[in-house]
Amino acid sequence: MSDTNRRAFLKGSVILPPLAALGVSSASSQQTPAVDELAASAPAAATPAADDYKPTYFTAPEWAFVQAACARLIPNDANGPGALELGVPQFIDRQMGTPYGDAANWFMQGPFFEGAPEFGYQSQLTPKQQYRLGIKAIDAWCAKNLGRTFAALKPEQQDDVLKKVEAGTIKSDEAPLKTFFSGFLLKNVMEGFFGDPMYGGNKNMAAWKLIGHPGARADFMEWVDRPALYPYGPVDLHGRQA
């Protein structure tokens, strides 16, 4: 995301819910801050992962799917905690409440054609709709072929289903499952896992510690020509250290 988009995203994540209730597009309400409003360079308030989080977009069956998928896509294993432990499901639920969830700043007018990948996203489905239809179709496939919903399957079965969805061998007339998996579910899980903790995922910067990423420190000029490992732990956008 470009810097401008990121800001719009941050800003939108705060103002969208009331605007959505009024049916107003958030894009028109964005205002360019005056040059001297230095305070505007501060990010939105941090709302890190909450232990007692209740989803606002996903229904109970959808929430069970998202949690189960997170637990398999980045599992809790010898390397460290996984996507479920780091709050990624709530990151995705909250992400659906931003302009992104409604594709509010994408071009979403017809005509809609199947296109080669280099032409970008061609569907008229918003990210919210992708999740709603995609989860329903996968759960339906699991129920029909394996006798249970996705969340109730064994981990090995879940991995198998996800691999088949990704490969395009599980198809549905109701949802573009391959696009849902690669373009939304997997992508959003990675965003939540590696994004700043202020958005609800990457709890306590554990994902950054896992890969040795120092976080939002902006500059490492003094270290570039040194052979030794960088010795400092990460910092998040709100200055918290880990």
Partner: protein, 438 residues
């Protein structure tokens, strides 16, 4: 209780009546502004007066941002409350259109209006008293002939009503006003004398940079004290020490570097902050190079203020070495510096040329009062745009990111690293400055 309150009231009223009578007696006689006899024959030069207005930076206090030029209304904080600058356009009712030159000179030198009312010394007439007859006359010609009249009435001061009586300022003047023109010292040369005349007079540097006494008076207005221009604390900022101290002063600066800062707002040592940015943008960048150099020459001639209680600076690589060795964690504030500051100011504290200020030996960092340092951490800053250096480089604010305790630790780290040796900053200091920002 009630009786006690009433008797107190009577005593206070009697006191007010007594001193008011005394005050009226003082007010009756308008002081003589001591204009030379040659003034009556001299033809004033309003164009030259425009430059005098620039040197004096009249607009800084008398022009509201976005408002009519020199129509007043800018709030100025005093210990008793805000006072508002007045309309100095030629409007006859609200401005100075009905003033004679003598009236104007009296205001500029003695702080007394034609109706006998006293100005609050927020108007730096103690400095303007140094200004020559000729410069005043040209300034008056400029203000009355070249400035557009604006019918803007003066604003009532935000000072409690009882304390708004102005006659005690006559006593203040008796105690603190040196009604004397600048006296050249020929032995020091033309540049020094021009610089001293500007610094003490029109440029009124001491208004912000000289510490004040119990009466809120500048403790020296003519360079006679070793504390003249030695740094102060005013309106949420801590204007720096302009004397020759190697730590918090300009001792390690060359005269050219001082002149460069006045022209561009930046130098290899530091960049301007806060209100000094406005001074550079509105006044010093438009001075002639000779005048800026004269000011620099005069400032460089000021010996260090007494070092007692002042910060020192002895450049040291120990801070950088500790960072590179991964040892920051033993020093509070170091990690915050690395997280939030080092991208621009570098782990060495050296910054980058004239873009990101050098923090080792920075007068603002080392100032006796840490207010400006705290303020810039909390609120960020933006360089003024000048003709020679138009980029308005900015530092983002960190007040949203760190609480008072954290800012205190960060500011203390900055004041005690790279060879800086200044007193630590307390969370109470930060709390006080933060409150002043709201």
């Amino acid at each position: 209780m009630r009786l006690a309150a009433q008797s107190w009231l009577i005593v206070i009223l009697a006191l007010i009546a007594a001193v008011a009578a005394f005050g009226l007696a003082i007010n009756r006689n308008l002081p003589d502004p001591h204009l030379g006899p040659a003034m009556a024959k001299r033809a004033p030069n309003p164009s030259r007066g425009a430059y005098i207005a620039t040197l004096g930076d009249c607009a800084a206090c008398h022009t509201t941002p976005g408002g009519a030029a020199l129509a007043g209304g800018v709030p100025l904080a005093t210990p008793l409350g805000s006072v508002y600058s007045t309309n100095i356009t030629p409007d006859r009712e609200h401005g100075i259109g009905a003033y004679s030159f003598t009236d104007f000179a009296r205001v500029m030198r003695q702080g007394v209006r034609p109706d006998g009312a006293r100005l609050y010394p927020a108007m730096p007439y103690t400095a303007y008293a140094k200004v020559s007859d000729e410069d005043l006359q040209d300034l008056f010609a400029y203000l009355t002939q070249k400035v557009a009249a604006a019918p803007a009435p003066d604003r009532v001061p935000g000072i409690p009503w009882l304390l708004r009586v102005r006659w005690p300022l006559a006593l203040w003047n008796k105690a603190f006003l040196q009604d004397a023109r600048f006296a050249p010292e020929p032995a020091k040369g033309a540049a020094w004398n021009r610089g001293a005349y500007l610094v003490q007079g029109l440029a009124h540097c001491g208004t912000c940079h000289t510490p004040r006494g119990l009466g809120f008076q500048e403790i020296s207005v003519d360079g006679g004290s070793a504390f003249y221009l030695s740094g102060a604390r005013l309106a949420g900022e801590s204007p720096v020490n302009l004397r020759g101290n190697a730590g918090d002063g300009l001792g390690r600066w060359s005269a050219d570097e001082i002149a460069e800062l006045l022209a561009t707002g930046r130098s290899p040592h530091a960049a301007v902050l806060g209100q000094m940015g406005e001074v550079v943008a509105q006044s010093t960048q438009f001075m002639t190079p000779d005048d800026r150099s004269a000011i620099a020459a005069y400032l460089k001639s000021l010996p260090p203020a007494p070092e007692e209680g002042r910060a020192t600076y002895a450049p040291s690589g120990a801070t950088l070495a500790a960072f590179m060795a991964g040892r920051e964690s033993t020093v509070p504030g170091a990690r915050m510096f690395m997280d939030s500051c080092a991208a621009c100011h570098r782990l060495s504290g050296e910054g980058e040329g004239r873009s990101f200020p050098h923090l080792g030996g920075s007068p603002t960092v080392l100032a006796q009062h840490p207010d400006s340092l705290i303020r810039v951490i909390l609120k960020g800053a933006r360089l003024p745009a000048t003709e020679a250096a138009p980029s308005r480089l900015a530092m983002p604010p960190f007040g949203w990111r760190y609480d008072d305790q954290q800012v205190a630790a960060l500011a203390s780290f900055v004041r005690q690293s790279w060879g800086n040796n200044a007193a630590a900053v307390s969370a109470e200091d930060v709390e006080r400055v933060r409150k002043g920002l709201r």
